[in-house]
């Protein structure tokens, strides 16, 4: 959800925090990241009401947390999040705008490989900067990206905190910026 209201009083600080600037720090409406919220070029005439409801979010997915286990000797581990097949948890809408609307085949955390985002089909490692789940921000550029058997995945293998939590049925938002 955007820091910037859809009506009423609006402040430059709200625009700044929406682009991950520190609240109360110096900013101008001509800053590139703030202009990018409404697609304006540098130095053009702009009005504050043009920012109503503007969001840095490129895509938001709502995940209903599921849990499952892989019960192999030595490699047994519990998974939390969503996977398409076999089906555990749920996701809405389940297609990633920033990756040409490819289907999200999995988004889960486990104790062995940590956090993984899995897409059906071959995507490129670009188009978004950060995914924030339950307040935990993960940078795309810190993930190992791979394309295996025509499908794509990002793995964060130092994410030892489970951003989905362990409550099955809880909903978590994953916001791509």
């Amino acid at each position: 959800m955007s820091d910037i209201p859809t009506s009423g009083a609006i402040s430059l600080n709200q625009m700044h925090t929406e682009v991950d600037g520190a609240s109360g720090s110096i900013a101008s409406i001509n800053d590139a990241d703030i202009r990018a919220l409404i697609g304006k070029g540098s130095g053009v005439t702009m009005s504050f009401n043009e920012w109503y409801g503007a969001s840095s979010s490129l895509d938001t997915q709502t995940i209903t947390v599921g849990a499952w286990a892989i019960a192999n000797i030595y490699f047994s581990t519990a998974y939390y999040g969503y996977r398409q097949s076999p089906s555990n948890g749920a996701i809405s809408d389940g297609t990633l705008n920033v990756a040409s609307n490819r289907t999200i085949a999995g988004f889960s955390w486990n104790g062995i490989t940590n956090l993984g985002l899995f897409l059906s089909g071959s995507a490129s490692n670009s188009g978004w900067t950060t995914v924030t789940i339950n307040g935990i921000a993960l940078s795309r550029s810190s993930a190992t990206f791979s394309t295996v058997s025509g499908n794509s995945r990002w793995l964060w293998n130092t994410q030892t905190t489970n951003p989905f939590g362990t409550t099955v049925g809880a909903t978590k938002q994953a916001v791509f910026t």
């Binding site: 192999n72 000797i73 030595y74 490699f75 047994s76 670009s126 190992t144 058997s149 793995l155």
Partner: protein, 265 residues
């Protein structure tokens, strides 16, 4: 051995750089950033190892257990023909001791007295997906906090003495240990005899790349378990076993668990 890779610079941000390589038809991009070359190489190994773990079958596999450069044991998931022959042997000597076929991903394998505390040859049975029950633990005169137990356990059936040992697998170890490779996923196991005594030898299972374990073994004067010419591609070995004496902290042998998917029987 350093792996060759190509560096890709992001078109969106020149500070975003990746080591890219293709292996067995899979394409990888590993973040370089400010990492040293050694760190980049380690991350490439990690990526290849994780890919190998993803490809492991859920219920049809064989583990070759290496120790001091040779295979000391082969374990089979119980859905395989090789496992069923061993289960028949177990059933003949220890009828209905366990629900041998409860899961396809239980494992069974023949062991020899290759290390302490094993005095005879026998058959190992690993029950997967279940913590040991309180009654099973008590029958070996031990008890654990349920939250500390992993969801599998082992039984060692000595075919000569017809005695059984229980291997309890757990996360946190209270005692002192020698220096061991660290990883938050690592875990321990303790062995108990039917008479209620506990073995002095504790198992420690570690997740690491072959390079990390080779370096650790070299630093500690331990025998690296794998032959020098095999398993150099992070393609099968995801788990390593260390053994130590809980009283003297002496190291025992180091083991490598090389897992291979198998066709269903």
């Amino acid at each position: 051995m350093n792996r060759e890779y190509t560096t890709r610079v992001s078109e969106e941000d020149v500070a975003e750089t990746y080591a890219t390589l293709t292996k067995n038809g899979s394409y990888f991009e590993i973040p370089k950033g400010n990492r040293s070359e050694e760190e980049v190489q380690q991350e490439i190994d990690n990526a290849l190892l994780q890919e190998a773990l993803f490809k492991l079958s859920a219920d049809h596999y064989r583990d070759d257990v290496y120790c001091d450069k040779v295979i000391v044991r082969q374990d089979y998931s119980t859905g395989l023909t090789e496992a069923q022959a061993l289960i028949q042997e177990l059933q003949a000597v220890f009828p209905n001791y366990e629900d041998w076929d409860r899961h396809n991903h239980n494992m069974v394998g023949r062991y020899t007295a290759y290390r302490e505390p094993y005095n005879n040859s026998g058959i190992s049975f690993y029950s997967s997906g279940e913590k040991p029950t309180e009654s099973l633990l008590l029958s070996f005169n031990t008890s654990y906090l349920n939250s500390n137990l992993l969801e599998w356990y082992g039984l060692k059936f000595d075919l000569d003495s017809e005695q059984v040992m229980l291997k309890v697998v757990f996360r946190s170890y209270e005692g002192e240990t020698p220096e061991l490779p660290t990883n938050p996923r690592n875990f321990y196991a303790a062995l108990y005899n039917q008479d209620g005594t506990e073995s002095n030898w504790v198992d420690y299972y570690a997740f690491a790349t072959p390079k990390k374990i080779r370096e650790f073994c070299a630093a500690k004067g331990l025998s690296y378990p794998l032959p020098p010419t095999t398993h150099t591609d992070c393609d099968a070995v995801g788990c390593w076993g260390f053994v130590f004496n809980k009283d003297t902290l002496e190291y025992g042998p180091v083991k490598a668990y090389a897992r291979y998917n198998q066709e269903a029987s």
